[in-house]
Amino acid sequence: MDGQGPSPVLESCTTPEPNALQKHPFWRSLLHHREIGVACALVVVFTVFFSMQRHFLSAGTLGDIVTVAAELGVVAVGASFLMISGEMDLSVGSNFAFSGMLLAMLITEYNWNPILAFIVALACSAGIGALNGLITLSIGIPSFITTLGAMMFWRGVALYLTQGWPISIFEDIPLLRWLGGSKVFATVHISAVWWLIIGIIFWIILQKTPYGNWVFATGGKRGAARALGVPDFKVKLINFTLIGLLAGLGGCFQLGRMGSMSPVWGQDLALEAIAASVVGGNALTGGVGTILGTLLGAITMASIRIGLVMIGAPAYWYMSFVGFIVVAAVALNVKLGEVISWKK
């Protein structure tokens, strides 16, 4: 034994061909979906709450969860769509309140035809989004800043509309029933159905259309997209407008469900929509994401809210619990990201 040179007993390592086409077991291919992270989070949340409160999985509760998720979820879908293209919008809460207030005012104080008022309110909310987009993209200010300012500005306008007072609509207005007032099944309000439809539409646009490809590219690498002729300015502007529209729609859903609107509601909406998006598997920096994940993310957030009340947890636990779930879910998503890379 001379102690020099490699041991003759060394075996040559066998590494599998790195990129060769391989067959994978079914369960492994499940992992390649970006939604697995939020699906796990949802399972954990449901398990925890069900173990402590057996009524948590009742039809009534699930209906409540979906209804609550809808108002947040509609905005979260828009937030994800915008986030994937590389921007964010902090003004959605103010837009939400302003549009709801506008709709309520036009109907009660100015006696407009409700449908016309609805169209105008949505046009305004889309306009707020478009304005955010124009300022961000033309001047070159980060969207965080533009929408931070917009958040404060439109909140002030909403407060000014009625000097801070809420508006209630006591007459039975068919439009409001259609927007959120009526229930379709047990405790499920119709707004949940609209939310599902919107989710499906946006899923199709994102995953199955050329525009969706442009959204991914604009957020993934704006320069490359532009070099290939993708109209990145237009894509981002359209997405800003869409999130504005959805924020306004969310406000109208809430007006439909509650019959009232106050200029101080929706304060946490922007951060909650972003939380629902990232929990769902959308990257904060853009380029990757999933609408299905966002839908599940919103349901997760709503489940936490309802679940905490049902188990009798002190009111202030909500914030801590949500914080924990957000970090845990995103951590899981990051870990999964390494596995996901090969798919889509």
Binding site: K208, A217, K221, G287, W342
Partner: protein, 267 residues
């Protein structure tokens, strides 16, 4: 499905840039640069940092508009307002870091900006099957083995990514292929592969312009080599007229008397 390059009369160059000038504020990035690219010609664009190589190709690919000078494509005067205009003409550009979106799949990258569509009422949907099949074929042609066309580009090596970018331009029937530093950061093996793709492109009738710092890479494959210095063209040689050593010398020390006279005659 490759588009065949339309045969232009062989004495008309594919691209001709005449007295191109570009200013950025007070700095002259390009001054009176003339460039001629023939069909099926591979042109190497060399020069030290700040020579204006990037600016020149950005003008040719529609990213910048020249402040003065003219651009001619296949015998017709053109004005390129955007990269889209350039792509429409058949000028495809592969930038160093801006070729592919790493977070998207190979298939999506391949068809970015030129997605195959299925009409559905009054909407356009992506033709997913076509994308997958075309991508798989391209990958086979190039010789890259992957698990799926839906794999993220980030899983590929630098050389493979360049190959895909080049393959993309060839697929979309480019007439001119512009490459910005295609071989920097590549291994020897990968560099070889990329240079062979450039050769293949020429064989298919494409013209290729590529920027590089590495004269040992450009020399073997180029037909013509253009040297820029501080925004001006200081050398325009056919490969046979020069050597790697001479080119290095020109770049490092500047053009010398007798060569300058020869250039003025042929430039």
């Amino acid at each position: 499905m490759e588009k065949m390059t339309s045969p232009a009369p062989s004495h008309v160059p594919v691209i001709e840039g005449i007295k191109l000038c570009k200013w950025f504020g007070r700095v002259a990035a390009l001054k009176d640069v003339d460039i001629t690219i023939e069909r099926g010609e591979v042109v190497g664009l060399v020069g030290d940092n700040g020579a204006g190589k990037s600016t020149l190709i950005k003008i040719l690919s529609g990213v910048h508009r020249p402040d003065s000078g003219e651009l001619w494509f296949e015998g017709k005067k053109v004005e390129l307002d955007s990269p889209r205009d350039a792509r429409k003409l058949g000028i495809e550009t592969v930038y160093q870091d801006l070729a592919l979106v790493e977070t998207m799949s190979i298939a999506r990258n391949f068809f970015l900006g030129a997605e195959p569509k299925i009409r559905f009422g009054f909407f356009n949907l992506l033709d997913g099957r076509k994308m997958r099949q075309a991508t798989e074929k391209m990958l086979r042609d190039i010789g890259i083995t992957v698990r799926s066309a839906h794999q993220e580009v980030s899983t590929l090596s630098g050389g493979e990514r360049q190959a895909i970018a080049i393959g993309r331009t060839m697929h979309f029937g480019g007439k001119v292929l512009i490459l910005d530093e295609p071989t920097s950061a590549l291994s020897v093996h990968e560099t070889n592969k990329v240079l062979s793709y450039i050769d293949e492109a020429r064989n298919r009738g494409l013209s290729v312009i590529f920027i590089t710092h590495n004269l040992y890479h450009v020399y073997p494959v180029a037909d013509k080599i253009i040297v820029l210095e501080h925004g001006r063209k200081v050398g325009d040689f056919r490969k046979e007229e020069t050597s790697v050593e001479e080119l290095i010398d020109i770049i490092v020390h500047g053009i010398r008397g007798d060569r300058r006279a020869v250039n003025n005659a042929s430039g």
